[in-house]
Symmetry: C2
Subunit: 211 residues, 2 copies
Amino acid sequence: MTTTTKPTYEQVVKERRSIRVYDPEVKISKQEMHELLEEATLAPSSLNLQPWRFLVIESEEGKETLKGLAKFNQRQVETSAAVIAVFVDMQSVETTQEIYDLAVEKGVMPADVRDRQVPAIQGMLKDIPKERLKTMNFLDAGLAAMQIMLSAQARGYATNPIGGFDKDHIAEAYGLDKERFEAVMLISIGKAAEVGYQSVRLPIDDLAKWV
Amino acid sequence: MTTTTKPTYEQVVKERRSIRVYDPEVKISKQEMHELLEEATLAPSSLNLQPWRFLVIESEEGKETLKGLAKFNQRQVETSAAVIAVFVDMQSVETTQEIYDLAVEKGVMPADVRDRQVPAIQGMLKDIPKERLKTMNFLDAGLAAMQIMLSAQARGYATNPIGGFDKDHIAEAYGLDKERFEAVMLISIGKAAEVGYQSVRLPIDDLAKWV
């Protein structure tokens, strides 16, 4: 009998650090990546709209395109198993009905609650100023992105969150509607081939106040 | 000999759900909350600027103020051990030097790297359009907020992320400069006194594409 020891939450959260060089021989199967994303997208989101969208960039061609868009992060692009490009859907009004239908179908929401909530949410999404929707979506994307990094760490992979890339051109470079899908961040993922460096954090007394 | 079994990452991420009613008798000590926030703020952030700031609202007076600001979430305010109000510091240019000095002091960054990076980052922060800085900060706040919810879960507490509150008045209600500190979300935290309901997630094939 073999037992697989799964890491504790504390290990995962404390051992994660940004890793920029990976073992290029180590790939992540589509099934494993699927499971990882399924776990990570258990993150909560505003009104459960799940506005996050992902490109899993792993083919030679996909990475070649990315090289031109992430000029200062070539090592991550070249050596990682994949780079996950995180976008937000600025038209989540289009998926509201589908999500709430799914909740009714799965038996976790009464149909009359759905029938009241869907038009209210759609109305709100149509009226909300674009910049407010964008900050709401970026916040939600941050929730899911954090769980992607942790879910990778828990599976023995390392990650690097990347903010410096060509956000204005990545959507169309991969055939996405750039008006609808706004680029948020890249997350490289793979088997670590460096130790990574420690980084500092501000003391809690500088960040938090009890009231 | 007693051993404390710490939950696995998988348990924590899969068992977290939004809980709106808590046992009002259960409080969280300042020390435990401090440790929880210290762990959660191991989250990465853009340029390591850690723009997140927190109010831990737990006193009777603090909660009384919050009741007027979170009218649709009275149960969470009343029964939780605390509500953590998450803000972003829109003037993180002010803390850049402190963070990078700390890195040099702790021996994780050479002084010459700091001396090149600090003015470059400060220049960028002064030039960046406010809306772009805001989305960057909200994304970073999402990373830390997710770890707050998970670090709470790992300690046996439940949470509820709350987006519906008076974001325009909460800073000044607690004496913060509202031009500098923008409200992001509330997170109620406490010992669960309800099971909570399941919510659905979109299938990964709707959210992700392999390229």
